[in-house]
Symmetry: C2
Subunit: 208 residues, 2 copies
DNA sequence: AACGGCATTGGACTTCGGTACAGTGGGCAA
DNA sequence: TTGCCCACTGTACCGAAGTCCAATGCCGTT
């Protein structure tokens, strides 16, 4: 049962079942572990913190793609869903054929934010970002700014899975020096060990 | 100097410099380490392996976003660029204002594939994937299929940066059992240590 | 000249991760 | 019943990772 459809009250829709006969139903509070693709219907309330909801579900989904469904799609909400880690945002009343197409795209690593939404979205983001505080460059790269040049070199290798010994060989320094660099990085970025460091460097976690 | 523009021969264009007066030039073979955003012009040849080129540059860029530039944009090539890890794909003759907007979006974690291209692209992906071999679901999730239920639980926590002790506490088992699970995962997925394991689980590396 | 930041290294130490060799118990299929 | 897989645990060992207390040399600023 690869597809799980979650809603506030656990109720599902005919179109979902027609799209994926072997789907399972669930509630938003509990993400089933058996599903490989999670669909979550936005609760009907007027104001939902979509980013937080998507982030929460995404954390529980843990690697499995999440598609947020909304009955009244809105570009800002789509943005929030993607920001929260969702892989897709689509109309909750979409036809079964559309749902299957979404699953196809998402399943292959793609992103889905609906046909017409896409372009308006881009315009919206460009507008929104242009008026946003000037953090234009280097927001995602915060870790780089706090590290020295050599530390950055080591960081890149570390984030690719290299051991201290390998980093030492590739940077042509001793393992001892690598430990010094790694230690400095852990301190600067507030990480506990090299794995958390790799999450930060790979953009999966925020520094500090 | 946050912006680096790379081309086959190291030559740059006036529009690039007008967009970012403090840009630096470079060749495709060598990605400068000082830049925070990498722009790379597709070599003029008729057939370039865009996915491989983008992947290579992306690996060297190591976390810093990459934008592929093409003088004759093509939706399939855009797909390939994104598949290779690029954050954007845009016309090499784009106006400075457009380039700055692209940088704005990319710098904030967005994706840019050009205005009109976007929608055609989606249609193209859907079409292309529909006729592709039926690997629809579970391609990105290969690691899950090879692990048992408990191993998957441990995998998720591990990939979030938890230590063995923490995993043990959260799964309500002993640290010894966690080590057993982790050991089994390393074996099954061909990883050397938990960091490489996390790269696989987080979709940054391929199993085996 | 004095100072601070950076890169580099050494030695010694503690902790953690990973493995080898065991063992128990439950479920499921031949 | 006899396997086989899975979950779970124990003891013990080794190497990698990370920390602490140093030291040297380079470079740029004050």
């Amino acid at each position: 049962m690869p597809h799980a459809f979650l809603s506030h009250d656990g109720r599902i829709r005919e179109s979902w079942q027609r799209a994926f006969p072997d789907m399972v139903a669930g509630v938003l509070a509990r993400v089933p572990s058996s599903a490989t693709l999670i669909w979550a219907l936005r609760p009907a309330g007027p104001r939902v913190n979509m980013a937080a909801l998507a982030a929460s579900l995404c954390r529980q989904a843990a690697g499995r793609p999440l598609v947020m469904l909304a009955d009244e799609p809105d570009e800002e909400e789509a943005l929030a869903a993607l920001a929260g880690g969702a892989s897709g945002y689509c109309n909750g009343h979409a036809a079964p054929s559309v749902l299957r197409q979404v699953a196809l795209v998402i399943g292959n690593g793609g992103i889905w934010i609906g046909q017409g939404l896409m372009q308006r979205l881009l315009a919206a983001t460009a507008r929104g970002l242009a008026t946003a505080p000037a953090s234009a460059d280097g927001r995602l790269l915060a870790w780089r700014q706090r590290l020295t040049a050599r530390e950055q070199e080591a960081a890149v290798l570390l984030a690719q899975g290299a051991s201290n010994k390998e980093i030492a060989r590739r940077m042509e320094i001793t393992e001892r020096t690598v430990k010094a660099h790694v230690g400095a990085m852990l301190e600067k970025l507030g990480a506990r060990d090299r794995l958390q460091l790799s999450l930060i460097i790979n953009g999966l976690e925020k520094p500090l």
